[in-house]
Amino acid sequence: MHAFQLIAAGTPGAGTTFIAGGTDLLQLMKNNVIAPDQVVDLAGAHLRGITATSIELRLGALETMADVAAHPEVRRGWPAISQALLLSASPQIRNMGTMGGNLLQRTRCVYFRDTAFACNKRHPGSGCPAIAGENREHAILGASDSCIATHPSDFPVALMAMGAGVAITAAGGGTRVVPLADFYRLPGDTPEIETILQPGDVITQIVVPASEAAKRSVYMKVRDRSSFAYALASAAVAIEIRDNRILHAGIALGGVAPMPWRAAKAEQALIGATADAAAFEHAGRLATEGARAAGMNAYKIALAQRAVTRALMEAAHPTAETGVL
């Protein structure tokens, strides 16, 4: 880890980064993936609080993954958020990791994390060894010829299915709320730019609308082992059903794209449909429309489809399957 200056507040600029929970930041710094000169400590910022109303859920950016996951209102009104958080990382990491930080977790692409390799995200223009390399864990949707890395977090996948927004305060003090769907940027020719955040911007809150669909939301995660592993594919769904007809559907995929991937076409196909296996299987297929395998990750297409279908089945007919221990 390179030396740096730790400050409570300061003027953000080149070479400056923020620290909240620090779980990803310290790994990146220890591995010299990043080497900031200045780290601004957010610990003193007043960015906590979990408030749930009949209209929305507001999560302070510094709330921990553990506290949000265990919150009774979150579990009741937005269960997929709690499930996604409890299926993330380990109990220790969940006591440290924060809401804002989880949105900004960097990819786990092994080439990005290892400075011995070229990486267009780390060094723009240096090349992407993953495209013709070990790409079993890489993206099937939204990737480019420059980068096929996935976004690793579970929590924002649940947020994407529920139409959440991100409140951001700029260095000058102005605050804006951006739909999460507009927060991330696909790699294209500039994989080093991952979000719309400008230097000095700080995520202050996450805002999630309340709805019947959110109450009936489910997060389904598939991974190599049953705990403490990143998603190979995951699905978050939020559906409202009346008289066995689907009135509203929110669907997002995780572990398969450079950002939490909203499956708008699958959502639209479900509106008005009968809530049955045929409709859910159809939605699964639509959710991966346009998917392109890089080689070793071809299995993810079927895996993601089935994750969507299973999550929808679980939301429509709850069993103990998604119960988190």
Binding site: D41, S90, P91, N95
Partner: protein, 194 residues
């Protein structure tokens, strides 16, 4: 050394000390930091205030092991994956390898050394001994710290629940069944919360 009953640690420290060349600074390989990255901190560890000058980049794990000789906390992966460095901050279990020491000021740090009351082991430590919850022992301090927190959190409903909530602690010897048995034993003898 005047210790008549030397522990493994005091012997290891003495042996290590003999092998250090006197005219080679021990941190010669470390990059010399700019002065503004050094600071003086006071950390409250196991009920005692400990003041040390440190570099900002010092992790809590390094602070414990290298600045205060509290070597019970172990460095395994140093990446937050293995849990060998688990300690409690304000009663919550965290990995000390991903925690900056400078950010721990004003908080209560508890390490494995802070569990026992004198010569009386914490019930979880005693249970690990009774159930043989270890083989090489390297992961054990982290396992015990995690297990103590787990019981307090109330995640002991089933053995599967215990396994899930111990997933942040790896054991390469594979002592898992006995670790679960030790935790089960303590949980069954701990009054329910609330």
């Amino acid at each position: 050394m005047t210790d008549l009953n030397p522990t493994r640690r005091t012997v290891l420290c003495a042996v290590a000390g003999m092998s250090v060349l006197p005219d080679v600074p021990q941190n010669a390989l470390a990059q010399t930091p700019p002065s503004h990255t050094a600071l003086s901190v006071t950390l409250r560890i196991n009920g005692a205030d400990i003041a040390r000058p440190i570099e900002v980049r010092t992790t809590l794990l390094e602070f414990l092991r290298e600045q205060t000789a509290l070597t019970g906390t172990k460095k395994g992966c140093d990446q937050g994956s293995c849990g060998a460095c688990t300690v409690h901050i304000d009663g919550h279990r965290v990995v000390s390898c991903l925690t900056l020491a400078a950010r721990c000021q004003g908080h209560e740090v508890t390490t494995i050394e802070g569990l026992a009351q004198g010569d009386v082991l914490h019930p979880m430590q005693a249970a690990f001994v009774a159930h043989d919850g270890m083989q090489c022992g390297y992961c054990t301090p982290g396992q015990v710290m995690s297990a103590v927190a787990l019981v307090k959190e109330g995640h002991t409903g089933t053995d599967d629940e215990i396994r899930e909530w111990m997933s942040g602690n790896l054991c390469r010897c594979g002592a898992y069944p006995n670790i679960v048995a030790a935790i089960r034993d303590v949980a069954d003898h701990t009054p329910a919360r609330g």
